[in-house]
């Protein structure tokens, strides 16, 4: 109970992009079985929502952790401009190697935003549709067997 009070700011952004889920490591049949209609060779698209959560000290002069204009500008440059109205597979270099699932998209967005110099990135949440959401907070998975 004596822990310091922490304050974080959450902001939601949107972009639209297309992707195709297809792994070079799998056969045609396996790709079809694993990814179903997401394996359609022509791809398909989503309206993605990215929720960015940052924490830091509230500046008493401004009442803010970070000026929203600075956060918006950084996310716009690093993520929205790179992904909006793009084909993730063909136009975002990391997805030439890696399947652009929303899990991987979430990790990539976290990597890009953790360089934000004005506040600490706490987590990234990506909503692929209103029914699917993915979150990453920079944590590594503990080996179950080791902590049993």
């Amino acid at each position: 109970m004596t822990d310091a009070l922490k304050i974080a700011l959450g902001r939601r952004y949107r972009f639209a992009a297309s992707h195709r889920l297809h792994s070079e490591k799998l056969s045609e049949t396996e790709n079809g079985r694993v990814y179903g209609k997401c394996n359609n060779p022509y791809g398909h698209g989503h309206n993605y929502v990215v929720e960015v959560n940052v924490s830091g000290k509230v500046d008493p002069a401004t009442g803010m952790i970070v000026n929203l204009a600075d956060l918006d500008g950084f996310v716009e440059r690093e993520v929205i401009e790179a992904f909006d109205h793009k084909s993730l597979n063909q136009e975002v270099p990391v997805f030439r190697e890696r399947v652009p699932t929303t899990e991987n998209l979430c990790l990539e967005i976290f990597e890009r935003l953790k360089r934000f110099p004005l506040a600490k990135l706490e987590r990234v949440r990506v909503e692929e549709t209103a029914n699917n959401a993915f979150e990453y907070a920079g944590e590594e998975i503990q080996d179950h067997r080791a902590v049993q």
């Binding site: 822990d3 310091a4 304050i7 959450g10 401004t62 009442g63 803010m64 907070a137």
Partner: protein, 161 residues
């Protein structure tokens, strides 16, 4: 034990039932209020540059949504972490009556001398609620200023629930 249908590892079941489970419950309320951002220690130009249209001297308003999360063990008799009716009354008394349809800069004494940003309002709400929650403990407040902007307040080290 044989023939009773109770598996031979029986004692582990008792242990499982007796284990204390931490449950998080969240209640949501809405209120509408006006505010403006202005720091009298800064020049008019600096205020304009930092706060932009939020610096309009006449103020502007939002529909705020507040989510309050309380953590605790369900009471073995009632099955509740805390009585939701009681939480509803606390929120009505401490937050709605204080902030709903108010001009936050002028009518909420707890915000005196502070810029009423989402961060600062969330912290004031935390400080108002924490001593009032006596069953379970206050885990997190999340205050939405718009659907795309919110501030959260929690104890360092609390889980991200």
């Amino acid at each position: 034990m044989e023939g009773t249908g109770v598996p031979t590892g029986y004692p582990w079941r008792i242990e499982r039932v007796a284990k204390k489970a931490m449950v998080y419950l969240t209640r949501k309320i809405d209120f509408s209020a006006s505010h403006l951002y202005h720091n009298p220690a800064l020049s008019a130009e600096e205020n304009k540059r930092i706060f932009g249209k939020c610096n309009n001297p006449h103020g502007h308003g939002h529909n705020y949504t507040l989510e309050v999360t309380v953590a605790g063990e369900p009471d073995p008799v009632t099955g509740m972490v805390l009585d939701l009716k009681e939480l509803k009354e606390i929120l009505e008394r401490e937050i709605t009556q204080r902030m709903d349809h108010r001009f936050l800069n002028y009518e909420v004494p707890e915000l005196k001398g502070q810029i009423p940003t989402c961060e600062n309002i969330a912290r004031v709400i935390w400080n108002l609620l924490e001593p009032r929650i006596t069953q379970g403990r206050l885990h997190k407040v999340r205050l939405y200023e718009t659907a795309d902007l919110f501030a959260e307040c929690y104890r360092n080290g609390a889980s991200r629930t």
